[in-house]
Amino acid sequence: MTQQGVRWSAEQVLALAPDAASRKAGSKLGAAGPWSEAGSSDEGTVWGQCKGSGSKPYRTVVDIADAAGPAYRCSCPSRKFPCKHALGLLLLWAGGDGAVSAGQAPDWAEQWIEGRRQRAEQKRTAGASASSSGSGDPEAARRRAERRAERITAGATELEQRLADLLRGGLASAEQSGYGLWEETAARMVDAQAPGLAARVRELGAIPSSGPGWPVRLLEECALLHLLDQGWLHRDALPDGLAARVRSRIGLPGTADGPPLRDRWLVLAQYDTADARLTTRRIWLHGTDSDRTALLLSYGAAGRAPELALPVGLTLDAEVSAYPGAGQLRAALGEQFAPPAPSVTRPPGVTAARAAARYGEALRDDPWLDSVPVTLDRVIPIPDGDSWQLADADADAALPLTPTARTRTGLWRLVALSGGAPVKVFGECGHRGFTPLTAWPEGAGEAVQLC
């Protein structure tokens, strides 16, 4: 495998940036001017020296071959990760204008790469021995799990009581009580070690101020919360797959112990959502041969970009293992057999009617599901009053866009790409509507990120 064949595009590099300021600073460093001795090796290492304001140039190395996304090392003092030098170097490399020549890494770059390889090797052997010897005392672990299950049961029972009280007095009173009541209940659920319940309860607090139609939404969410409580309390009576979904919805940790599936995984979309505590990154993958869709989740502390970064449009030859639960799409990335490479493959698509049906079918396995990933074939974005919809080019069927999708700038990129003609769109389809994430033009052309 030669590096010349797998250069990334500038968009893919810029997608690694932790924030807009880094993106801007990095793109300015993506020209040959400040760089010297820049090079790349066949093993997927890119290095270079960047002239900064100091007398000594910064030494920047990037390892793009790593399974968990690129790794960076730079001698600059920036706490941004990756720093602008790493971004600039990758842009220079992505530009492919000969500024980064193929060659042998200098000692300072080689040392770091060597160190990384060794650590990874140690981790692998350590992991293998740990799993063979078993972890700690199984009896103690079982007791811990039991204690936690008891706490959650107490929490779920308490929550059932609160929901019953609410319904007895009427939802209309919820409008006056505001956030306070729900924040307190959420805190109780955190104490009960049921973070999944806590998060759902916290969201209830925002519904009364979410505009017209809020009683319907509040009743829906209360009912689904009740369903989850009941699922937990009667988990022994549930089929295994559904019981696993209930456990993960409640917030119990699971391990991705499904059988590893090796495939050429196309990166369909990557986007971050952030709250006050946590940045969550979602990466959607599509297996070219298996036609499976998988979701990788990665977290970062508030204000920091999660570490895993996979640019849209690349294909990974890698293994992916699913988390437990029926219809579970969440997976963990396992071994990666080659560096990510650009690809022209596109996922197969379906009609709008089929996409809506697919969401309905997925609810059988997971009634709490908000949306399913789906690729729409030959759809046209159409303005519909102050909203938008994606309509089949060949049938009178359309999916409305979600309220959040309507306000994103990506909507206009989608509209511009289409120009009134059919496009292929990947996104999430659910009860709130469709959220477009990536689009492809009808003819030749790269994937266009919409998020």
Binding site: S9, P34, A397
Partner: protein
């Protein structure tokens, strides 16, 4: 999909409504429908609501499609090379307000390169990548100077998009007829219809378009409705005749000299005076020549000036403004206007067969020199007479060229505009070599981009001298910025010697050397970037 699609079967929706009502009021006040035995009312309600919620969600169906918009017109231009498309994305990502700010450091100012990039892409006739259009339109929205090039590059799809997004309405205004197609040149019926019924902006655009193709046709079209137009509109329409102005326009302009509106009369007179063969120009020549003569009585010949004593009705009809602005003498005001509108060819004949250079060199009596020379400058610019412009500019290295001489910097810049690009660059290069950069900004602005080799070298040398003189680079930030955008990228290698931080000399400003090195680094980087941009576009 809730909003637009119907649940699986209608009766269920009625049951849901009842559940919502009961939930809203509370089960104490309203007993929910159904209700399993042995369950408390609120729990039974939650059971039913959970079932109903999942059922409603599972039963969602695709909605009916709303009216489809007409697809955007096909863009026949070739697709942008991938490297150039990535560059465009980078240039557009560097929007003001996306972080940073403050001191620029050594990084190129990408947004400033966008106009050049657009010009190069337009010159090669590439189509814009559709997904880049929103960012491009947003950039053009904030900067009106970008709009013409950005909209030309953006092509028909941008107009299509602008109809869907009110933020980009300017794209519709800029396009003639709000995107409605211009009538075909042969389609006289449609042309007439648009001319008689169109909006003002549409009519101006129509007139300009026809004028560019067939000057006489535009004038004839204007004549058909001329007397019925409002004064402001007449002024704008008359102004569009400036393009492709020729002797055939004289009768129409002569007639406009009698217009009701003073501004229309003045504009007509100005246009006529730019036609040296016009009757108005001849009348002005007679008046002006009467005021200027060569006096041979002294040791050497001198020009004497006798300014007009009155501004009569015929002068006013020919566009002379009778009332002088505050602080100016009436007679010199009238005199200036006469000379300005007089064909420059008159003077050689009038002043003893001398060449323009000899005439400009003649001394002028009684402090009339600045008035006379300034009027000649305006005439040379208006009549686009390079020979006179050359004479009035003088040699660039002459001492008075740098100081506040008879000809101001603004006038010089205008005079330079009448010369060829090569001559212009050579003159400015000579000026910079003799006088440095402090006065050069305005003059550099009229030079063709990229700068010619001699001009580029003169600027770099002058910057080098300024650095050695110990001043700070920000005193020259204007010229530096111009150099980043206008210097020929092939000059970058000549700058290598300037990138290092020089040893600080005693009389230098503290730290200046470092800032200069930084400024030169930015210059070199920007030049390299421009070279890369040009290469990506196949220049």
């Amino acid at each position: 999909m809730n909003r637009t699609s119907t649940p699986v079967d209608a009766p269920a929706s009625g049951a849901w409504e009842e559940l919502v009502t009961a939930a809203l009021l509370g089960t104490e006040r309203r007993t929910p429908p159904g209700g399993a035995p042995g369950r408390e009312a609120p729990v039974a309600l939650l059971d039913a609501a959970a079932e109903e919620t999942v059922r409603r969600r599972a039963g969602l169906r695709a909605a009916r499609a709303a009216g489809r918009p007409e697809p955007a017109a096909e863009d026949p231009r070739p697709v942008l090379p991938p490297a150039a498309a990535r560059r465009l994305a980078l240039l557009l990502a560097d929007r003001p307000g996306t972080g940073g700010g403050g001191r620029r450091g050594t990084a190129p100012d990408l947004m400033e390169l966008l106009p050049q990039w657009l010009a190069a892409a337009n010159a090669r006739g590439f189509a814009a990548p559709p997904q880049a259009l929103p960012a491009l339109l947003d950039a053009a929205r904030g900067r009106t100077d970008l709009r013409p090039a950005a909209l030309a590059f953006a092509g028909p799809r941008a107009v299509w998009l602008a109809r869907l997004n009110p933020d980009w309405r300017f794209a519709l205004r800029a396009t003639p007829g709000g995107g409605a197609a211009m009538p075909h040149p042969e389609d006289t019926e449609q042309t007439r219809c648009l001319w008689e019924e169109g909006l003002f902006a549409e009519r101006v655009a129509l007139l300009s378009a026809i004028r560019a193709r067939e000057p006489a046709a535009a004038r004839e079209l204007l004549t058909t409705t001329w007397s019925a137009e409002r004064a402001e509109d007449r002024l704008m329409f008359l102004d569009s005749l400036r393009m492709g102005l020729g002797p055939e326009d004289e009768p129409f302009l002569e007639q406009a000299l009698a217009d009701r509106s003073r501004n229309v009369r003045a504009t007509a007179a100005e246009l006529l005076s730019a036609l040296p063969g016009s009757a108005l120009a001849a009348r002005m020549a007679v008046r002006a020549a009467a005021c200027v003569a060569v006096d041979h009585t002294g040791d050497s010949p001198m020009i004497t000036v006798e300014a007009p004593h009155e501004c009569d009705a015929s002068m006013e009809r020919d566009g002379v403004v009778a009332k002088a602005p505050a602080g100016r003498g009436e007679r010199s005001w009238w005199f200036g206007q006469l000379v300005e509108a007089t064909p420059l060819g008159t003077w050689s004949v009038r002043l003893g067969g001398r060449t323009p250079r000899q005439i400009v060199a003649l001394p002028v009596t009684d402090d009339w020199q600045s008035e006379l020379h300034a009027a000649w400058c305006r005439a040379a610019v208006r009549q686009r007479d390079p020979e006179w412009a050359r004479a009035l500019l003088g040699t660039p290295s002459a001492p008075e060229a740098g100081g506040p001489g008879a000809v101001s910097l603004a006038e010089r810049a205008k005079l330079l505009g009448t010369l060829s690009a090569v001559e212009r660059a050579d003159w400015v290069a000579g000026f910079i070599a003799a006088h440095g950069l402090s006065e050069a900004f305005q003059l550099l602005g009229v030079c063709a981009v990229p700068w010619s080799a001699p001009l580029g070298r003169a600027v770099v040398d002058a910057l080098n001298i300024a650095r050695d003189a110990g001043s700070y680079p920000w005193s020259f930030s204007g010229v530096m910025g111009l150099a980043e955008r206008c210097l020929d990228p092939s000059e970058a290698s000549r700058l290598d010697g300037l990138l290092a931080i020089p040893d600080e000399t005693e009389d230098a400003s503290p730290g200046a050397g470092g800032y200069w090195a930084e400024a030169f680094q930015r210059l070199v980087r920007t030049l390299r970037l421009r070279a890369a941009m040009a290469e990506e576009l196949g220049a």
